[in-house]
Amino acid sequence: MTTRTYLIKEGYDNLKKHGSKTFSTMLIICATMLVLGIFIILFQNVNKNVETVRLEQGLQAFIDDTATDDEIEYMQDEIKQIEGVKEVKYIDKDMAYEDAKEAFKDQEYFLEGLDKVDIFPASFVVTFSNIDQSSTIKTAVEKVDGIYKVKYNETTIQAVISVSKIVNIFLLGVGAVLLIVSIFIISNTIKLAVYSNKREIFIMRYIGATNKFIRTPFVIEGTIMGLVSAIISFIVISIAYVLIYARIPKVGSSLGVFGFLPYSTLWYQILIVYVFLGLFIGIFGSAISIKKYLKA
């Protein structure tokens, strides 16, 4: 048995010695991870949908009223040359007015008496060949002379985006609180283990154990709890997602319909976050609880 295997065994023995405490600790860590997992899933799904809609609908660049026809033509050429731009369609004031009439078909009184020139500016509709460049294209278009405003054409999913923003903030808040609770709980559990080994630690210090040697079994105990919780959470959330996914629409199935990503594009992100979170909670939680016993 090497020193390392000895220290790992000591950490494992501690876990068994406090079985029920270990169990309830891991339950809290799992809850934290599940909430954060749901956050990741929603966040990625909403982002993907926003991207899909942006790719399909592009952005709209509004043109200054003072621009002459020549200038407009020049601008159109300029925008066409931006990398990643697929198409630039010019919409003049009349077309914009027609579009608006179409949109307010049943409430035409809305438009009565409005000076169409001021209300509906001419614009370009710019579509992308590659969604990854959407934000660089947007900045490039904004810099073009004679363009005063640029926005994504994402009206169809605007509601989804704003709801998801609220849900995401809520989930992040709950996740942060649970993360703190997790670290607190795990450090409490480790404190118990440290306490029951107080005599041992005391003697170890007298016979020349380094802080690292004393600390290691407890850090291992915390790390095992963190990692086992990560694996359990990963299995639970994977099964849940796959089951739910089988019953809902897919991304891009039709324009503007909110669809879910296949799990194959999500699982590794969740796994990576879980493993790092498990390590972080385990190592950080145990290190803070052993600290006061290590003062020389």
């Binding site: 090497t2 020193t3 003697i203 007298y206 020349g208 040697f213």
Partner: protein, 224 residues
Amino acid sequence: MIEFVNVKKEYNHDVVALDNISLNIGKGEFAFLVGPSGSGKSTFLKLMIKEEEPTSGKILIDGKDIGKLKNKDIPFLRRKIGFVFQDFRLLYDRDVYENISFALRVIECSEREIKTQVKNVLEMVGLSGKEKYYPNQLSGGEQQRVALARALAPKPPIIIADEPTGNLDPITAEEIFKTLLDINARGTTILVVTHAKDIVNTLNRRVIALDHGKIVKDEQKGGY
């Protein structure tokens, strides 16, 4: 091996536990530290392993000024000094073998080294064959010998003992001192705090006597 230079130790700015102590214990020496209760004996030992810091003065162990050690070096100082306590300080949920091998694990010995060294020290203290016993299954004298074996296992050049026979009957105490003399004969420097007057008188070794934190006697072949 152990050198104190003008060492003073005050607790809480008013209790003077050691007052301007200077002495030198050479390599391979065997010395008793005696004195009435509260005279500063335990404080003397605690300063050696940096469990307490001197208020002023300098302490050298193996030629090195321990006042200059950083916190992370303290474990390595303690590995040079085997400490034996009056109350043994064994781990009661581990058997004799584990209690001793513990001290070797701490200094990261290999399993093979641990096996041979535990066997060696058990032989030295006369406890061969008791590896599987738990401390509670042993007599007080045997438990103290396990504690001694644990202190010896990492082969420290210095052994210090704070009233190692305080809880033992005179005959058992004598056996413990015999073992200490054996170990000393192999070259280990030994400093023992004791109230065992008779033994100090018969062994004819160096005796350092403290009273109220001052050295009142230091004789090469002294008595209590």
